[in-house]
Subunit: 449 residues, 2 copies
């Protein structure tokens, strides 16, 4: 949607809200619909081609307003998470469908998704061990629990371990910054021999530092064999999996118990919107449900009625599936794929520019929209380059550390980015580099004299 | 703001956003401001009288845009939480000011605030005990930790205990559904004698069921004496404390370590916005901080730079202080006070109507905007009344259970509610009651025959 259509549609929405408020006394306080009313009213998959704004607004009046905030908020979320799951070709087991045991939920951030998965896994292993040995206390079990993630995993994984009160061990990644079978297996054997209880593994697809991918096809079978909960965190990279040519990066997700990525990062949905799926929704609700028994009902885990408050940390919820619905329909799957492809193309264009300049080096394989690069030379030199780029304030780069090497990260992430912006940015970086290298040369000359 | 002004202002905002997007290439990618730039630019307290929309928009351009999303998002939040703290007459120790050790943060919900407080308390007591006895493991300590809350506390407190992996004990409330000194002290003595370690107490001001108030002036000194973290949860009632005549309900908060209420419940700020204050911000950051040591800097806990990511569960944040800023200025403190007072008056008007009808009884003292009432008679009768009211869909009531009595709750909570609505609702309830009582009479007559 360009700015001029936004002006028109935005103002129509303002009128829609004002009309609603003015006419609110004429509306019923509670909807007439039955549980499950929404799913039959909308398609089972996202549209391939873009739809018009009019068509969407018409559906708001026809499909959402009769279901008011509740149950429409819950039911649209379940169906949108199925749409998105199908866009990613997630295994059927992760979808809610009409009678599935899995399903999706919108969390605020990947941090919360990881924490929720860890807590569910903690509850599951604790109950399992207590069923076999009823004398074991929760504390006695927690003392021995171990979670694992690659040394490249996001700090939110460590935070989840801290909050959950369990130890987290970092698995050394390989030369491509990926967690591999051998390193994981070695850690598991060592810990089991020491009497500890491995229970939870986080595999990262698209790490924050350099967008590396843990080897899911190696890690998955190990978790499956050892009975460990496998959580796959693809916070950034997940959006790319809607393109068939990138879907192979998700292979192995069939071994996971939970999977998460953030449409707010790269799928044009505004912050916050973190999409999380589980294969067995009872694993989540079992960890968080606090209903007294007499409130349970037969449909509770059937897909007919979903109590998302048992799937998350907070109690209250926002109607975040609406923005997914709008985005999926305004762009269509093809539009979203084109958006992802354009960003990946631009990052390869930047990579090619860097490779043409022998003063620079590429520091990690460019797979999606991130290019890790640096001047050949010391960390100090690259820190000076970053400092000069960020002080000029024409572009902004966030650095990372890869095996103690200070690295610059060029991230393609704006909705309106074009090749011209990338070229301008690169020319600017080259200029800054020339200045920094000249200063270094003068410094060296001074030391010699 | 009425609907016609909303139409006008809403459309101006749409244009503002579109203009911003069209002109984005002319803007700098990173702000020029220094840490702490914002506080001197705005008043130290919320305005008493309403301001114009123009004045607020002018400040957006002048004060927020030069600070972009960061640091403006953080700095406005700190100052808004100070404004709000002053509106409640919170003790100085909870304010950030320019060099305070306390301060406020916006969480999503009260559930998250309670959990964050519990985790901070857990970390603090664990470190304290380990400092004295380094051989103690975290698990050995957690096994003995006990948190306490009234039997009227919200289920989110129990959920926080579950997540934090510590036991939670319910303290029996008194005849007015309040936690008192004697019951708490008794539980503490019993648990200490059994070798357990009390560490955390949640006092509720305005319980969900009947808006009762724990006795903070009794509970506070006990927590202080025993060295327990006291968290005060006033999720609903907190908004009322901006009125001097209700401020006494908050007396005793000076004994608390953390305090929380939800402006999204009753202070005209849209969901979600849960305001939380702590006396020592290092208690929170100590529990969640994961920065490597070499990234620490001297201003970190000085109030000059605040890293809110260490104050909460998620990493990402939204710019929620903007809506507080708008609401506080559009209404002024006096406008917000008038809004609270009107609701409390209306609930007393409803209470008076109920008291005039001898078939009904009031079930808990009416203090703010909630009236708990029922037909004199069985739970079955009242369940039938609720069922008939909610099926008619003219009004909607949510029930509760008070000492096993099924009770109806009439909550004044709409922005546009007037006395006429309350009167209509009461007439409707009376009609439904007449029908339900008649049916009961006929049933009894049938049994007799």
């Amino acid at each position: 949607m360009n700015a001029s259509e936004f002006r028109r549609r935005g103002k129509e929405m303002v009128d829609y809200v004002a009309d609603y408020l003015e006419g609110i006394e004429g509306r019923q306080v509670f909807p007439d619909v039955d549980p499950g009313y929404l799913r039959p009213l909308i398609p089972t998959t996202a549209p391939q081609e873009p739809e018009t704004f009019e068509a969407i607004i018409e559906d708001i009046e026809k499909i959402i307003m009769p279901g008011a905030a509740s149950p429409a908020c819950t039911e649209l979320e379940t169906v949108m998470m199925d749409w998105l799951g199908k866009m990613l070709q997630l295994p059927e087991a992760f979808l809610a469908g009409e009678a599935g045991e899995g399903g999706g939920v919108i969390q605020g951030t990947a941090s919360e998704a990881t924490l929720v998965a860890l807590l569910a896994a903690r509850t599951k292993v604790t109950r399992h061990l207590q069923a076999a040995s009823p004398e074991l206390t929760q504390a006695a079990i927690m003392e021995k629990l171990v979670a694992y993630a690659s040394d490249q995993a996001h700090s939110s994984v460590e935070k989840a371990g801290l909050i959950g009160g369990v130890r987290l061990k970092a698995i050394p990644s390989d030369g491509k910054f990926a967690m591999r079978a051998s390193a994981l297996q070695e850690a598991l054997e060592r810990d089991k021999a020491a009497g500890l209880i491995p229970f939870f593994v986080v595999a990262t697809l698209g790490t924050t530092s350099c967008c590396s991918f843990d080897n899911l096809l190696e890690v998955g079978p190990i978790c499956h064999k050892e009975g460990l909960w496998l959580h796959v965190d693809a916070a950034y990279a997940g959006s790319a999996f809607i393109c068939p040519e990138f879907r192979h990066l998700l292979n192995g997700v069939e071994f996971a118990d939970s999977f998460n990525f953030n449409p707010h990062k790269w799928l044009l949905v505004n912050f916050d919107c973190s999409a999380m799926w589980v294969k067995k929704r009872t694993d989540l609700t079992g960890a968080f449900r606090l209903d007294p028994v007499y409130l349970r009902h037969s449909h509770q885990d059937s897909g007919l009625i979903t109590d998302y408050r048992h799937w998350q940390l907070p109690l209250g919820r926002r109607f975040r599936s609406l923005k997914m619905w709008f985005v999926f329909r305004m762009y269509g799957v093809k539009g979203l794929q084109a958006y992802i492809r354009k960003h990946v193309q631009l990052s390869h264009a930047f990579e090619a520019l860097v490779r043409q300049d022998t003063r620079f080096e590429i520091c990690a394989e460019v797979i999606l929209g991130l290019v890790c690069f640096r001047l050949k030379g010391s960390n100090k030199l690259n820190e000076a380059l970053l400092e000069s780029i960020n002080s000029a304030k024409k572009i902004h780069l966030v650095p990372c550390s890869l095996r103690d090497r200070f690295v610059l990260r060029f991230a393609i992430c704006s909705r309106t980015v074009e090749l011209a912006h990338v070229q301008l940015a690169w020319e600017h970086i080259q200029e800054m580099a020339a200045t920094v290298l000249r200063a270094q040369g003068e410094e060296k000359a001074e030391i010699k004299n």
